[in-house]
Subunit: 171 residues, 3 copies
Amino acid sequence: MHHMQPTPAPTAGTDQLSMVVFSGDLDKILAAMIIATGAAAFDMKVNLFFTFWAISALRAPEKKGKGKKLIEKMFGFMLPRGMDKLALSKMQMGGMGAAMIKAIMKKQHVASLPEMFKTAGELGIQINICEMSMKLMGFKREEMIDYPNMQVCGVATFLADATDSTVQLFI
Amino acid sequence: MHHMQPTPAPTAGTDQLSMVVFSGDLDKILAAMIIATGAAAFDMKVNLFFTFWAISALRAPEKKGKGKKLIEKMFGFMLPRGMDKLALSKMQMGGMGAAMIKAIMKKQHVASLPEMFKTAGELGIQINICEMSMKLMGFKREEMIDYPNMQVCGVATFLADATDSTVQLFI
Amino acid sequence: MHHMQPTPAPTAGTDQLSMVVFSGDLDKILAAMIIATGAAAFDMKVNLFFTFWAISALRAPEKKGKGKKLIEKMFGFMLPRGMDKLALSKMQMGGMGAAMIKAIMKKQHVASLPEMFKTAGELGIQINICEMSMKLMGFKREEMIDYPNMQVCGVATFLADATDSTVQLFI
């Protein structure tokens, strides 16, 4: 944050949140999206840098990447195909843990993960996907979910965003 | 941090640390409390936002929540009942890893986790518990440990604290 | 960041990144080093505070610590002996996951972890090792890799660095 003028209180739109979303666990992606949508509703500018395992959450199960090599197909097969397939970091119980959490969230009228991503798009949250991770895991841009503000870019973009941010987190 | 005036060096009480404590692993809770009490001893204002698995660390084993539904009782049964029951994220070895770490900490005169929470309270560290996680896991306020500055609140409180903080971490 | 003067844009060398590197997982250490070397190449001052499991990444397999007690030898035996022995946090598959990632990184001309540490040293990245973790795990300074800017110190050093930093992360 570069203050030119004395600032008595955080003003709408002046604060920025940058997060590295690294984990592909359902619970951590939920935490990231709750913080992100909360911050955007709070009038903060929000940038999410999805890298490593977290990219699996952005896969659209019905889309396919073209021209994949064998090892890239293997990765695609082994990693979760989208946000509905993510597992919890604890209490996995063969997928029952994730199902339980989703059922309770629904009962308590907490937005589901797909709903949170929809809200994130509407609130103008920027999703950046780590280019190097895409290459390493063999993911293609065309396999990702439809989302209004999404680009594939490098760590330099995260660092530039983070430097301008009031709050930075690694999840 | 909003500097009105040139500031030659960090002055006592002007810096603030906000942490999301998400993990319920013994090693990560230890890390969070070492950083938190270190910062408070360093005259920083410290806010901890306990969410998801980390809330288990705040359960008082001798207290019981009232009026719980079956699924809430199940969660209460499956999750660790307080900070003495937390497991390590690695080298669990059926609980032997946690016991080993505690034994070595004692031998090396490092404060135990309960002692760190006591110090945290004396240093004025604020503990906020995530309201949504409490609801999802069926925890009640009356089940939590005795601690001087503890409240149940939403992610907006964390974001307001984090925006005013010099340092923010997600653990 | 303490701005004495209006700052129109981030200037070389004025921004600082401080990270707690806690995890000993190959994927997380890779993420930490990619962010760290990226930031240093971006002219940021970078401090890494290695603690708990992450210290295993800094062990030199050919070096031995002197005067170790039995329990310290046990820890040394159970924990990974250096950055080449780290496992992934997911898809471990008995070490095959880590081997796969390394093979793909090589094929895609991504620097290996040892190369990243070499670059980090050349870019002047400071590595601080948590004194308390060293004591708890029985690691000795002389067991660590050769690295130009490395010291053993306490959490107060991290907090002082973090307070002066534009970006702070816990990995």
